[in-house]
Amino acid sequence: MTNASLSLKKRFSHYKYLRGLQSGFIAGLTILGSSLILAFFPTFFAPYDPNVFDFTALQSPPTALHPFGTDNLGRDTLSRVIWAYSVNMQMALLATIFSLITGVLVGAMVGYYRGLADIIFGRCVDAIITFPFLVLVIAVVAVLGPGLINMYIAITLVGWVYYARLMRAEIMAQMANDYASAGKVMGYSDSRIIFRHLLPNAITPVIVYWMTDMALAILLGSSLGYLGLGAQPPEAEWGVLIAEGRNFITTAWWLSLMPGIAIVITGFGFSLVGDGIADLLRPRG
């Protein structure tokens, strides 16, 4: 076979592969992409200032002027939902990234070295998963005090365990392969074997889990906001907006309904992308 036909074949399979991408993945990427744009440039899209009172339009139902209606102080709900994108998208990242880093490092270490550290780690995992996730998180928030930063700290304190457990199992599975022992025979340092050889092969399931976890972080963050333990009013955050609308739910249903739709769409986008990435990264046979 000539070089040219080989590269053609390669290109063709690449094309087929792109075409085979799930339409769900593309829909998910579209949702996430637009959410990110809204999060970074809320001023371009929000028709009003989210915190300005308009006493001429109190609790206005959805109209052409206010597509999502206004609240009891005349604030435009659409603008508040759009401004909340930056807070809630930030949650997806900040509530997970530190758990990811800590979990990957700890999991890789205990998976590679085993020994006493691994036994202690195992006990810690057992103890932490004995608490319902939310119970432990809100107990920590209760001690630290409500607020976004403390919420991130609480979620990280509990959440890293799940990453570490996954990472440990993957590292141990990779170590059973010949290339890991080959690295040892070659006299490579431990850190080179872990970070250059094992980690790139073991990280895939962790990344897939991270995507689902980001969706969960938005749900968790807005739940804590709703309960009054996360973002604090008057900050525009979807959970807080829903909680604010709760008192007017029979007279001004749009106040709680609209931010919830934003949560569902964004969460759906994350899980579509998560599934798509899982498909992409899964070894094809």
């Binding site: 057992d126 608490f131 996730f133 809100i138 001690v143 749900l219 829903i242 739910i249 919830g260």
Partner: protein
């Protein structure tokens, strides 16, 4: 090994876990900046009262002695005094616990009723329209926060249509069933989404197994094959998943109790947090941990009963 010795060895295994659980709960309150006595006492407490409280809580002792006292008290059933409700924490929790247990079991029942048939339909129509619609709906369900589902049900079915009460618990068993129907449905809509996914792939896995093909070759009816062979085997992984999701279920219950004003331990937890009632927070956190580990234990037992291969020999 008999199942009794298995149970016993599982209980023994739980001891080190529980020591750590106690350490976490103990240290939780010690994370508080400043003097725990000031945080726990009334704002108007005098220095003498604070000193008495420190004495009573053993705050002047070294940390490990304090931990020893804490464990001793918990083992004796003494979880301290609730600041919010001015009653022993253990009594308060025991009074509210049945409500939460009722709600949780009710939600499990609903989850199975929702997830079971839909998973079967999805699995039998794998990658056809019914499957894609069902999976899509559940994916949306997984992306919807529990409090939002609850608020929607509460608004439309209870507040607008007035089919259901907007909160409370009722007196008799049937009143409980009626009052907790929407809360249980709320928790179940979320939980069933988790179960559905797993049950569907479990059924798909089993449906091509050799023993199912053999049953078909024997000429058994499809209904009988589904009931006797497919569902029974798919049940094992579902029970495991249900058991392992108990933490999720409890988290969902906590939020739902708040939305629907159900007087259970979940709502109590939030009340305790806003009142900064630390003995009550500690007691409730411990209660949740005990509940979860009991369910883990129960899951193990049911699993080995359902699947003889998992029995330790």
């Amino acid at each position: 090994m008999s199942s009794l010795t298995y149970l016993f060895s599982r209980l023994l295994q739980m001891i080190p876990t529980f020591i750590l659980v106690m350490i976490i709960i103990f240290l939780l309150v010690r994370l508080l900046p400043g003097d725990p006595a000031i945080a726990m006492a009334d704002a108007k407490a005098t220095e003498a009262q604070l000193e008495a409280l420190r004495q009573r809580l053993g705050l002047n002792e070294p940390l490990w002695t304090q931990f020893f006292y804490f464990v001793r008290n918990v083992l004796a059933g003494d979880l301290g005094q609730s600041i919010l409700l001015k009653a022993p924490v253990a009594d308060v929790i025991l009074e509210r616990l049945p409500v939460t247990v009722f709600l949780t079991l009710y939600a499990v029942l609903f989850s199975i009723l929702i997830a079971g048939p839909l998973a079967a339909v999805a699995a039998l129509n794998k990658n056809r329209r019914a499957d894609i619609i069902i999976r899509g709906l559940f994916q949306v369900g997984l992306s919807t926060p529990v409090f939002y589902i609850g608020l929607l049900l509460l608004t439309f079915l209870a507040a607008f249509l007035r089919w259901f009460p907007v909160g409370g618990y009722g007196q008799t068993f049937w009143q409980h069933m009626y009052h907790l129907l929407l809360p249980a449905l709320t928790v179940a809509l979320y939980t069933s989404a988790i179960i559905m996914r797993n049950l569907r792939s479990a059924i798909i896995e089993v449906i091509d197994a050799e023993y199912v093909q053999f049953a078909r070759a024997k000429g058994l009816s499809e209904g009988l094959i589904l009931r006797r062979h497919v569902l029974r085997n798919a049940l094992v992984s579902t029970v495991t998943l249900l058991g392992l999701s108990i933490g999720n279920l409890m988290s969902g219950t906590l939020v739902t109790e708040t939305v629907f004003a159900v007087p259970g331990v979940g709502r109590l937890m939030l009340d305790a947090i806003f009142a900064r009632d630390y003995p009550l927070i500690q007691g409730l956190t411990l209660t949740f941990a005990v509940l979860v580990s009991l369910v883990f234990l129960l899951t193990d037992m049911i699993q080995s009963w359902l699947d003889p291969r998992l029995r330790p020999s």
